[in-house]
């Protein structure tokens, strides 16, 4: 099983008990109709069970139809800009047959919402969607039962529209949800399968809906963690080492104390200054004299790949079939290549931020986080408080992409608040953000593959080092194949990376898809045929064939053998259950190696699409963001020292890079909804690599494909 697609990052959080027992909880909730349900990928639940960790309780999400008829859904998920606040509300409204604007989403607050492991991995819609719909269907059934009693009719005679239940043949007989819930206190636990609305009856799902939070965001009213204020609040700046692994040998904070109004906190490894003015805090920090002992440098940008291969742990077989020796024997041409990928930062525009308040034995932390519940556990253990005394509230979060899962800033703010007795806000500087980022890991992929005389792939021997297995499995029809994963972003191998690494939008898959699809393109060129035709010859997977054809139609793909000089690229990919095909057109300046991406077409099959407008936005975001890691983004470092301090050296995509983007969503109304926040990013490396090759004949095997690397690869 590809467990790393499903298992946690490195959370130590499983098994945390919910703050209240179910009875206490229901008492607090007040009146109305409440449906408790549980959300989770069956694989995760199974994995937890195997580790002897049962789910905290028998539900982890709930919805309520209040006595005023308003519908609230309480979930531990967080809105990060991916639009779930809209898509979940949409699903709920549709199933319950209420207007979208009576639905409130209460998200991530650890006191109000049931336990959740975190918002990442495109899992929200995939695993939350179906049970949420089932719960809504259950609620509708309860309400119809109540209405049947109220209207003296049989449930089968009743219909619902916009929150009003009416008698099918006697329309004047009707009653609203609000009238039905008044004075009621009904709680049900969702068991088994509820009868879901048929996709053909959907009224809201599948229709474009604009972001529900946009109004607050265009007027500056939306509050992010750094925008919150508490009386007496102080801003913190924290002493940081010059390199990961550096040891503090001496420190003199007397200079900082001279900055008027400064409080200096020294507590073990945590040395910080607090001030009511953030600029004065920065000034005070500058006055601290610290000596550090830096560790011996072993790795740098150049030798890291050899190092990783050397320290790689034993590999796991992701999938295999046939016999590799046999495959090699029947191959006419065998191609062996190595693909490299550097470290990439999350670089959200909002840096890690938290505000903490500790009063007596209670702590409240507002934090920019994708994982409020794990943070709650961390804060409780660091402050020595019972978990029920810690509350985490995630306000709006300024982007995550997997980068806001470790919560170091939340723990720092909590410790400083406790030590100082004042509310404390920690906002990382951009340099701190680059230093403590959990980068997408540098990785190596080695592929040996062969084709026979009829351009059929006969051998596929694939090994990925340190990226992880997600997206490593090929989807071609190959008789003799093996895919291995050595080391993973999820399980840290000691002595591998000189700093933190972690999940980055579609973890592992960007690296894997770059390597696999580049290799397929190389083999198509060796076979002397068009890369689309080559794929179709080697594919049986219907969904992949369908997206490739859809993209080709939109793009106007004309078959040609690469390099054709046109600058056309193609790649296919799979992620989070979603299928993708990308086509791109680029222009390469032969002299400078500069690439201009002119056009990208992407076809995506994501099963039932809940919010096509949202899906398209996510696809455009993925495509544009993917240009960064494909062409420019690369962390510069030596040992544990990070040289990138700001966006001047670490370049991310900007307006002038944006190509014309055309997206196609293949909506499969009968299929289950699949992930949409990440998939469309995975093909960007390979599609651009091929377009560069097609333009000028330069085959680049390392991302990012910088002008220097392109020039070096020029024929």
């Amino acid at each position: 099983m590809k467990d790393d697609e499903y298992l946690d990052l490195d959370f130590k959080d499983i098994g945390i008990l919910p703050p209240l027992s179910r009875r206490e909880f229901l008492k607090l909730l007040g009146g109305g109709v409440v449906i408790l349900f549980s959300v989770g990928d069956p694989l995760i639940l199974e994995a937890q069970r195997r580790r002897g960790e049962a789910l905290p309780d028998d539900f982890n999400a709930f919805l309520r139809i209040g006595e005023d008829g308003r519908v609230s859904c309480f979930t531990g998920k967080v809105e990060l800009g991916q639009g779930v606040i809209t898509s979940l509300a949409q699903m709920l409204a549709d199933e319950l047959e209420v207007p979208l604007d009576v639905v409130d989403m209460v998200m991530g607050d650890t006191d109000l919402c049931p336990y959740d492991r975190g918002t990442y991995g495109s899992m929200t819609t995939r695993f939350f969607g179906p049970p949420l719909r089932a719960a809504a269907a259950e609620a509708r059934a309860v309400l119809i039962e109540l209405a049947a009693e109220h209207l003296q009719a049989s449930p089968s005679q009743l219909k619902v529209k916009e929150g009003v239940v009416y008698h099918e043949s006697q329309r004047q007989k009707k009653v609203s949800y609000a009238q039905l819930t008044k004075g009621k206190k009904i709680a049900r636990r969702l068991k088994g399968e509820a009868v879901l609305e048929k996709p053909s009856d959907f009224t809201i799902v599948g229709k474009p809906v604009l972001h529900r939070d946009a109004m607050e965001k265009v007027t500056g009213k939306a509050k992010f963690a750094g925008d919150l204020r508490e009386p007496g609040m102080l801003y913190a700046r924290i002493l940081r080492p010059p390199a990961h692994g550096a040891k503090l040998t001496s420190v003199d904070t007397s200079g900082a104390k001279k900055v008027k109004g400064t409080r200096v906190i020294e507590d073990d490894d945590l040395i910080a200054v607090l001030h009511e003015d953030p600029e004065q805090a920065a000034e005070a920090l500058k006055q601290i004299q610290a000596q550090w002992m830096k560790p011996v440098v072993k790795v740098d940008e150049k030798n890291i790949f050899g190092h990783l291969i050397k320290v790689a742990p034993e590999g796991d077989v992701v999938s295999e079939g046939g016999n590799l020796a046999k495959g090699e024997e029947i191959s006419k041409v065998v191609v062996e290549e190595t693909y490299l990928d550097g470290y990439v930062a999350h670089a959200t525009i909002e840096t890690h931020t938290a505000l903490a308040k500790v009063e007596g034995d209670k702590a409240t932390i507002w934090a920019s986080t994708q994982t409020p519940f794990p943070l709650k556990g961390d804060v409780a253990s660091v402050l020595g408080l019972p978990e029920k005394n810690v509350r985490i509230i995630p306000p709006f979060v300024g982007g995550g992409f997997g980068g806001k899962t470790r919560n170091q800033q939340g723990v720092e703010a909590a410790r400083l608040a406790k030590l100082s007795g004042k509310p404390v806000q920690v906002t990382w500087t951009r340099a701190e953000e680059f230093f403590y980022d959990t980068f997408r890991p540098a990785a190596v992929v080695k592929i040996k593959a062969g084709i026979n005389g009829s351009a059929l792939v006969t051998l596929w021997d694939y090994g990925v080092y340190f990226a992880g297995s997600r997206g490593s499995e090929h989807f071609y029809d190959i008789p003799h194949h093996r895919t291995m994963a050595f080391g993973s972003v999820w399980r840290r191998t000691p002595g591998s990376h000189p700093f933190g690494t972690g999940a980055w939008r579609a973890p592992a898959n960007n690296t894997n898809t770059f390597a696999r699809e580049s290799h397929i393109n190389i083999m198509a060129a060796k076979a002397g045929i068009d890369p689309l035709e080559f794929r179709l010859k080697n594919l049986k997977d219907k969904r992949m064939i369908r997206v490739l054809k859809a993209a080709a139609k939109k793009f106007g793909w004309k078959p040609a053998k690469a390099p054709s000089g046109r600058g056309y690229g193609i790649a296919g990919g799979r992620d989070s259950g979603t299928y993708l095909a990308h086509m791109a057109e680029v222009e390469v300046d032969k002299k400078t190696g500069q690439v201009k991406v002119k056009r990208v077409v992407c076809a995506q099959d994501m099963g039932l699409c809940i919010n096509p407008a949202g899906a398209k936005i996510q696809m455009e975001g993925c495509i544009t963001m993917g240009l960064g890691y494909a062409l420019k983004e690369d962390i510069h470092f030596k040992g544990g020292e990070i040289f990138d301090l700001n966006f001047d050296t670490y370049e991310i995509p900007r307006f002038s890079w944006t190509p014309k983007i055309e997206t196609i969503v293949i909506d499969d109304r009968e299929a289950t909804p699949q992930g949409g926040g990440e998939p469309a990013i995975v093909c960007m490396g390979a599609v651009i690599a091929e377009a560069i090759y097609d333009a000028v004949g330069a085959r680049v095997f390392q991302m990012p494909m910088t002008p220097e690397r392109i020039k070096a690869a020029m024929p």
């Binding site: 990060l80 007027t219 959200t348 982007g399 544009t624």
Partner: protein, 158 residues
């Protein structure tokens, strides 16, 4: 050095006795509680902190507060007039030109400056004029559409 600085902030006269060298960004966010102006990089690289000074887009993380003495400062909170959203704000909503929304105030104010100087910008002029404002959620394509739409609206639909 503390000094009294007088300026118009979102249409209201303000006077403030502060260290003249403090950056406008932090004065807005801490002294005035106007948190719509965001911190993103602190070094002029991202544009999240963009405000208007005498109707020109300026990076407030790089602007000492003394430089706004006697001038007119507009932040995102001051863009809507009497509860009516500015055409740019409306267009950002209509085109879904945001995801996490963190870069949005800076984007809108930078676009405001662009459209004041050039009421009929070409696609290239929009991309060039906006190029120093970063959006990690990469809503660029939508932002461009929103700006084009707002420009049309501000020209009175022509």
């Amino acid at each position: 050095m503390s000094k009294t600085i007088r300026f118009k902030l979102n249409g209201q006269a303000k006077s403030l006795t502060v260290d003249r060298e403090r950056m406008l960004l932090w004065v807005l966010r801490t002294d005035f509680g106007l948190t719509g102006t965001k911190f993103g990089c602190g070094e002029g690289c991202c544009g999240a902190c963009t405000v208007l000074v005498n109707n020109e887009a300026v990076r407030s993380c790089q602007l000492p507060v003394k430089d706004v003495d006697g001038k007119k400062v507009t932040t995102i909170e001051g863009l809507a007039k009497n509860g009516d959203l500015h055409p740019l704000q409306k267009a950002f909503i209509k085109h879904d030109a945001l995801q996490c929304g963190y870069c949005t105030p800076g984007m809108i104010l930078n676009a405001y400056d662009l459209l004041i100087k050039n009421s009929r910008p070409t696609l290239k002029e929009i991309k060039d004029g906006m190029d120093e404002n970063l959006c990690r959620c990469a809503s660029y394509q939508r932002i461009v559409q929103a700006i084009q739409d707002a420009a049309r609206e501000m020209r009175g639909g022509r």
